[in-house]
Amino acid sequence: MFDNVWLIPILPFIGFLINGLFGKKIKNETVIGTIAAGAVFGSFIVSCMTLYKLLSLGSEERLAEVKFFSWITSGTFNADVAFLIDPLSCIMIMIVSGVGFLIHLYSIAYMHGEEGFYRYFAYLNLFTFSMFLLVLGNNLLLMFVGWEGVGLCSYLLIGYYFHKKSAGDAGKKAFVMNRVGDFGFLLGLFTLFWYMGSTHNVWTITFSEMAKTSHLLPTGGVVTVITLCFFLGATGKSAQIPLYTWLPDAMEGPTPVSALIHAATMVTAGVYMIARMNYLFIRSPETLTVIAVIGACTALFAATIGTAQNDIKRVLAYSTVSQLGYMFLAMGVGAFGAGVFHLMTHAFFKACLFLGSGAVIHSMHGALHHAHSHDDAQDMRNMGGLKSKMPITFATFLLATIAIAGIPGFSGFFSKDEILWQAFSNPHHGSLNILLWGMGAIAAGLTAFYMFRLVFMTFFGECRITPKAKDHLHESPLVIVIPLIVLAGLSVVGGYIGIPKVIGEVLGGIPNYFEHYLDPVFKYSEEYMSVHGAHGGIHNIALEWGLMGTSVLIAIIGITVAYALYVSNTGIPVKFVAAFPALHRAVYNKWYIDELYDFMIVNPCKSFSQFLWKGFDVIVIDGAVNGVAKSVMALSGVFRLMQTGLLSNYAWSMAFGVVVMLSYFILK
């Protein structure tokens, strides 16, 4: 049935091998770019075929495992290299290959003339391969391989401009923070395997087996421990509090990388993982609460920081963190389908936004370069009035912004509103629900505000760079524009496959296709909820309409405020900053979280390492090693005296040895 599914990860891997091994020899950028983008396009075609085949099956049969070979077999432990094809993994491979292909295409033009062009594409292909492994793996261990693989590629690509110290540092920061999360992932894996094996004699790490045996698990208790460990892994990979600070720094990488890895795909791996193991998470109300609270906090917190940043990519980075917070909020309230839906729509509009910002930066960079200006090409304070210079980029950017702001009719509205409604109405958190909804709604308003602030500062008003440079601003080439148009189109229409039920009923009974499509993946959770759901959720259509209206209203207020502050009356922000300098400084400096981490964790670690180095390593370890060497030298100094170089001495020693040995045998 799914015989050719192995092609999906293998094609990018072949691209990686070709570009990685021979890219330096090929040199021709067109060839390298074509190989890399073509490989991902091939994966996209195969993914489409896989999805088509999956859809042709009945909804209950949409689960297939394709085993290629046994990877590790040790006693009761067994891990295969096998792929799991179900609606969830299918939607993921569609996102990864589709968005991935567009971004590869975009990169050909964006990275033109960069040193190490082949290296960039080799990494990008390796990333795509790892991401496929992550989403397709049918067991936790294979997923972990992909998990680590994408982490590695993320590190390599953040540090792509490795000659810049900030880029290298950002790469290391991302890697180390991800390691903290991976640690949690592994602990969760081990605990789950050990617990299921020792208490129920179910030694498995395969997702489908785990789902079937999940009814053996208790509610809470050890499951809370396991799921919290997994959630720690998710916070690292998906940049949630407390491990989110690496993502804004990751913007040191090339912009398409930010679009692919740090917005559309890799950072959603944590969401995917929770959705994949929903039957575990649903069994621990405590973990769900933690996830929901952390998700909501992250959404709100990152949104506040986003309002005061001036670097265009940083705004988008905090926006990504905030949107990921929404996804985790969805996971935390048990709305797995809505979370995955938001994952998908977010992939569309955030990739579009990043690529659009990349086009702007590219254009700005070229213009500033021509004018021999050293202004920062990413600083929005230098931009403005780009609307007329780059009309297509502006149009696509605006569409994606409207989508993320949650204006009705665009994809972001459907997914975000579904999450907010579920946050309000879910049966898990009781009175906490209103708080969760409130935080989400305020974050939505802030999102609308800072996104439109970005648009207004970048595309409206007067151009703030020197007139000389201004003449060099121009629309990007076709290869850059096409992905923008496609992604903008998807940002607009992508939401219509998952229209919320209340709207669907008004429009004449359109079902929520997306939710139905994902139903088989979450059926174990639903079974559990139908048994344990103590006080079912709220089902009040009028209330839902009301909340929807409220969130839209909040978004519109955000937009209006942004318009008022940054278009019609640009003096206010300055006054505002002057009025509350401390507040602005705190927000501008990201609430000093990095400094706090430095103070609380990094510096103590450094001093402790310093102690280990100077105190322990140099004296004890080196002392032991050098001591051994020195004693050997002293001893050999004694034995060296025996090496007189005189033949008679050697002969005497030999004869003596013979006599001793003979005597031993005689006297024995």
């Binding site: 060296r640 090496q643 007189t644 170089g645 005189l646 033949l647 008679s648 002969a651 005497w652 004869a655």
Partner: protein
């Protein structure tokens, strides 16, 4: 029976004398001759036992030892000559390049 003991004692004495010679002399040719003496002492033992046990294998062995000794003499003396050409002496204590 008794008279075989004499041969064996003689061979042991000759072997020990050869050993002492190898250990005490510095002249490499004399050392070489002492080694020949030791070989011959062993030969005498072989032939004595061969005769005593009524088995010719020992004598065949002696034959081969002689062959090896001849080859050894040729190569060994060539080595000594080469050494003399390089060092102008055949004193074994001068052979000490391997010394630390």
């Amino acid at each position: 029976m008794a008279n075989f003991n004499g041969y064996l004692i003689i061979s042991a004495i000759l072997f020990s004398i050869g050993t002492i010679g190898v250990l005490t002399r510095k002249n490499s040719i004399v050392i070489f001759m002492c080694i020949e003496l030791m070989l011959n002492a062993v030969n005498l033992t072989f032939i004595t036992f061969s005769r005593y046990l009524g088995n010719l294998d020992g004598q065949i062995f002696v034959f081969f030892i002689m062959t090896v000794a001849a080859a050894e003499a040729a190569v060994g003396l060539a080595l000594i000559i080469a050494f003399y050409n390089n060092k102008d002496t055949i004193d074994v204590d001068e052979v000490q390049l391997m010394k630390w």
